[in-house]
């Protein structure tokens, strides 16, 4: 390279950094940077009235799984914590599964509409996606509560005689999360199906495959990247959900997100809250890495 070419190359790279600088500074100050503080706090001593005291300690991390026995100060497994983790994971997996089962036909339906109608159906999926999460969660509250729509309809039909108590528990959280995260499953599935060459279906049927066989042997393998993307997009926010379990779980049925908040509120255990946050972050990053690996492999094949 000539000096002039080198200078030009260096200039474009410098411009790239200069132009990105405001965004990078904002994100460092008000998003990424503070995460490091959380990491540091997770290794500090707990303060008496919240906050932390300077001094290295692994109590925060140990506290994720263990708790001091009330009687003899020995460390025992913290059953309450494990219950919360298990509930979070279980509900997140369940939410991911159900959103896929109902989301796939929906995405397929949208992708097979004529182009004009397709844009409209897609728009109908995106409206709930952009609508305030709190409002959507509250809308589920409206439907599930004792005097809500579901009970009203079931009573009228004579299916039940006493209103069902559906609110404030894992079931309500599960329904709420399925409802709020469904568009996150449908959109990537749609993107994958939209790229799918529909002539392959005719080829499949031509070669004696049944509808179910075409679905299993042709469609699903090809749209797999969309399935993985949708699953990650639903699983990750489900695991860290805060608003939905708070509004529909009724305070007692916590998920990890609420448990973290508790440590910074009444729990007054900032190191534990910080350690929990970091642990959650690690789990999410692992999920994302698996996704990136998978996506890259798919690309390499295609």
């Amino acid at each position: 390279m000539s000096p002039a070419e080198k200078a030009q190359g260096a200039r474009t790279i410098r411009n790239a950094w200069l132009l990105s600088a405001p965004a990078l500074i904002l994100l460092t100050v008000a998003a990424a940077g503070p995460l490091l503080i959380v990491l540091v706090y997770s290794f500090l001593l707990k303060g008496q009235y919240g906050n932390v005291e300077w001094g290295f300690s692994l109590d925060g991390w140990r506290g994720i799984l263990f708790t001091k026995d009330i009687f003899d100060d020995t460390m025992v497994l913290a059953d309450a914590h494990l219950t919360i983790f298990w509930r979070s994971v279980k509900l997140s997996i369940l939410t991911t599964l159900i959103t896929f089962v109902v989301g796939f036909p929906t995405a397929w339906f949208i992708a097979t509409r004529p182009p004009k109608a397709r844009a409209l159906w897609l728009f109908l999926i995106t409206i709930p996606f952009w609508t305030n999460l709190l409002i959507r969660t509250y809308a589920i509250n409206e439907v599930l509560r004792k005097e809500g729509l579901v009970n009203a309809v079931l009573l009228k039909l004579g299916v039940i005689e006493v209103p069902l108590d559906m609110l404030y528990g894992p079931f309500a959280i599960f329904v709420g999360m399925t409802y709020v995260y469904l568009p996150l499953m449908v959109l990537p599935l749609f993107a994958a199906i939209d790229r799918f060459d529909m002539r392959l279906l005719e080829a499949g049927y031509d070669l004696y495959a049944s509808r179910l066989q075409v679905l299993r042997r042709v469609i699903l393998p090809i749209v797999k990247p969309g399935i993985v993307a949708g699953s990650i997009l639903v699983f990750v926010p489900s695991l860290g959900a805060y608003v939905t379990p708070r509004v529909l779980g009724g305070g007692k049925q916590m998920m990890i997100g609420n448990f973290i908040e508790l440590q910074f509120g009444q729990g007054r255990n900032w190191p534990l809250g910080s350690a929990l946050s970091m642990a959650l972050l690690v789990v999410v990053m692992v999920a994302l890495l698996i996704y990136v690996r998978f996506a890259n492999r798919e690309n390499a094949h295609g």
């Binding site: 790239a16 950094w17 132009l19 990105s20 405001p22 965004a23 990078l24 904002l26 994100l27 008000a30 998003a31 990424a32 503070p34 503080i37 959380v38 706090y41 109902v102 989301g103 036909p105 929906t106 397929w108 339906f109 728009f123 109908l124 995106t126 409206i127 709930p128 952009w130 609508t131 305030n132 999460l133 709190l134 409002i135 509250y138 809308a139 589920i140 409206e142 439907v143 509560r145 005097e147 729509l149 469904l182 279906l201 005719e202 990750v236 695991l239 860290g240 608003v243 708070r246 990890i256 997100g257 973290i260 908040e261 910074f264 910080s274 946050s277 970091m278 959650l280 972050l281 999410v284």
Partner: protein
């Protein structure tokens, strides 16, 4: 019976499921909207049509202040985020790969990857320390936090627009004696316009809707509309919440419709 021709794209039960899904998506929202017109004192009983709850919400100074605060934050944050995102998009697209490019991408998309609760906690800790150190308690923290997490939402449509833009247009401008600044001002920016507007609208909606981070960052008396509603949901529920929700919903739908029309016209 009329014979139905074989359709390769049809799969059994798919259309039914899809229709049910769309119903399930919209019935709760419509129920919520319907109850905002409920004359009854309680959310439980339907007492006829009325606009009382809208009047009540409107008369509620807490609601009014929260609304203004929400709008102020959303306008400031989306403006800042869009400006930063536009610059970043100009810096990172349409050039050869360079060292650190991945780092910039990861940083910009970081708010999409980290669970909101984790960022909220981090900002709570960080801003608490700054509040103690500086004594400043104002809305700046919220605007700063919102600006940061709105960046990826503003960045995506702007970047998409830039990547779809013919590079030779700017080359042509330079060929026709335009300085780099003139090229940007007269060619790049006008062509980028719809992308920037789309990015700003998404950032605005995202900021307006945020609950978790706002809940953790706000100081006393800094409720936004969503955090005010979250607070109210702990208490006795009245259709006032429905009325506020409906108004917020309408605003979101209006912006999204504009976004939809804007991006479609330019396809």
């Amino acid at each position: 019976m009329a014979r139905q021709s074989f359709s390769a794209v049809r799969l059994p039960g798919f259309t039914t499921t899809a229709v049910l899904v769309f119903l399930a998506l919209y019935v709760p929202i419509f129920t919520l909207v319907a109850y905002s017109f409920n004359a009854s004192q309680s959310v439980a009983v339907w007492g006829g049509f009325s606009l009382d709850w809208y009047a009540k919400a409107w008369a509620n100074t807490q609601v009014k202040e929260a609304t203004l605060r929400s709008l102020l934050i959303a306008v400031s944050a989306s403006a800042i985020a869009t400006a930063a995102a536009t610059m970043a998009a100009l810096g990172t697209t349409r050039r050869k790969a360079f060292r650190g490019q991945t780092f910039i991408y990861v940083m910009i998309n970081q708010p999409l990857m980290v669970p909101e609760i984790v960022t909220a906690v981090a900002l709570l800790i960080f801003f608490a320390a700054i509040k103690v150190a500086t004594g400043y308690q104002g809305l700046g923290y919220l605007i700063l936090a919102h600006s940061a997490f709105c960046i990826p939402f503003a960045y995506l449509p702007i970047r998409a627009r830039l990547e779809g833009m013919d590079l030779s247009l700017e080359t042509a401008a330079a060929d026709l004696y335009a300085t780099p600044w003139q090229t940007f001002r007269r060619v790049t920016l006008p062509l980028l316009g719809p992308g920037i507007i789309a990015g700003a609208m998404l950032a605005f909606v995202i900021s307006l809707d945020d609950v978790v981070i706002t809940e953790f960052v706000k100081s006393g008396g800094q409720d936004t509309l969503p955090t005010y509603m979250l607070g109210q949901m702990r208490r006795q529920l009245t259709p006032e919440i429905n009325a506020i929700s409906t108004m917020l919903l309408m605003l979101t739908v209006a912006i999204l419709t504009a976004f939809f029309l804007l991006t479609r016209k330019n396809d």
